[in-house]
Symmetry: C3
Subunit: 236 residues, 3 copies
Amino acid sequence: MGEEMIHDTASFGSDVKMGKYVKIEENVRIGNNVTIGDFVIIKQGTEIGNNVIIGDLTILGKAPAANSNMARPVEKSLSPLSIGEHVVIGCNTVLYTGTIIHKGVFIGDLASIREKVIIGEESIIGRNAIVEMNTTIGKQVTIQTGSYITADMLIEDHVFIGPCCSTSNDKYMGEGNYRHQGPIIKQGAKVGNNATLLPGIIIGKHAVVGAGAVVTKNVPDNQVVVGNPAKLLTII
Amino acid sequence: MGEEMIHDTASFGSDVKMGKYVKIEENVRIGNNVTIGDFVIIKQGTEIGNNVIIGDLTILGKAPAANSNMARPVEKSLSPLSIGEHVVIGCNTVLYTGTIIHKGVFIGDLASIREKVIIGEESIIGRNAIVEMNTTIGKQVTIQTGSYITADMLIEDHVFIGPCCSTSNDKYMGEGNYRHQGPIIKQGAKVGNNATLLPGIIIGKHAVVGAGAVVTKNVPDNQVVVGNPAKLLTII
Amino acid sequence: MGEEMIHDTASFGSDVKMGKYVKIEENVRIGNNVTIGDFVIIKQGTEIGNNVIIGDLTILGKAPAANSNMARPVEKSLSPLSIGEHVVIGCNTVLYTGTIIHKGVFIGDLASIREKVIIGEESIIGRNAIVEMNTTIGKQVTIQTGSYITADMLIEDHVFIGPCCSTSNDKYMGEGNYRHQGPIIKQGAKVGNNATLLPGIIIGKHAVVGAGAVVTKNVPDNQVVVGNPAKLLTII
């Protein structure tokens, strides 16, 4: 352990396996049997439960930043990043402060998750996936590799989102002085790879969005939509 | 400061906040009030203006590389990477040499920007966004998260590109012994999320490309296109 | 060289240029004239041929991990990561154990490649591209920036895949208790940018998939398909 990198207010459970060149800041709390990779940065106040695995070259608890041209100001007083038991975090990931990752979640390499996000138990965030601020993700949700989950979304339990899906929350594309609203994906819905969801769209319970579909209207419960623009699939 | 990692030809303004394990190479010039994260590499000759913030695990001034199967040879004599005042750069980013980032630009985490790119004042390059070589981006442009900006593009001022957009510059897909040409996006145009732009396409001033559209022909000024292939939206 | 980071069972050829803060684990074998960047982690058993270049902040030989909600269990006994001569690897990349990268391959920044992948000679894996487990890629294949290559794919020699393409291998989207099958892309085929390929689809020899196409059926040899769903392009 490179002692000079560990702040003396940090606390550690038993059996913490520390990588090389780990930086741990003020008031970080680390549980029992946690494995920390090499070149990892754990920012101030981050709370890590028991049996967590953290990949190499990863940043936990980053504070948001902005420039003068951003749609919304940066939040100042965020709670710490909280990581539950048995969470597995990949390499080269960036997780922000103010976010809660519940137990058993898996986060792939090169993923990034912004502030004020909640991720429910045993959900999967694939490699290179991105979750924007203020989004809530339920339990046992799968968000596959490379998908983009915009801000202000609600994704209910057991949803499956295939690889490379894209969502948006800004129907005036930067013009707006109005409330942004991301899509809402109801329980058990499935979204095929590289699908596109427009702002505020509701995908109903157990609905299916086909691969490559461009969803411009709400999809009712249990229905299947495909195409651009997406239309109900009717069995003839 | 890990002194052995700072080359003695590097120069520093006042009030530089240096992270842990920062490597700074020959002839790097750093302005006043610059904040540098942990595990950052600043390659030779890079010039950084006043009040810049650089995230952790980031590389500034990378030289291009290639293999024998590449479409174009690597440029040998590039000017240094130049970063203007008040630029904010995220974590795990890779910025190449020979590129100019003007003042007030924001670059998100996990983004990468190749050589010979120019980015105008106060523009935003989202997280995981990629900008290829030789592309010019105007002022107050927004390129949202995960978008792919190919080589040889021109993006004028105040353009808005939604998340996960894709562009291309090679209409013969690797066959060609001809000049590549990326799309041209004129002033104030807006491109919806996950749209696809074909090589050499011109998007007119204040035109709008719908989310998920596949743009195979030029879009006139002030017009809206949607669909695959994209067609003019006509209000009935 | 930070000696405490180099395991004493690692072996080195002549003329190895070592970056700062490189961690090299047990039984790593490194050839002649290899260049290793800064903050690089080379995991146990990795084999690196002569004249290889490895970018900064890169991880070679990562072991797979999983959570309880994953579709398939983690393989336990994988062979080491093997990297052939003259391979060039970018910065911030993650390559897994059990994978073979043949000579002259180029891997861009921020790319990641899972276990049990084979990449043939002189192929290119673009920046931010992702290759899932168990996929075989031929010689002189180009996979452009940001493309997603799913598990269980076969990509034959001389294939060209444009930027931001998406593939999938799970037609029941997480429901299934059946064998996954990724697309098969035959020799010399070309896939345009942001195209979507469904599970098990076969793209014929020298076939062309247009940009943004959503391919739901097999494409015969030498044919061109465009649209959503993709249809044969007929010249009138």
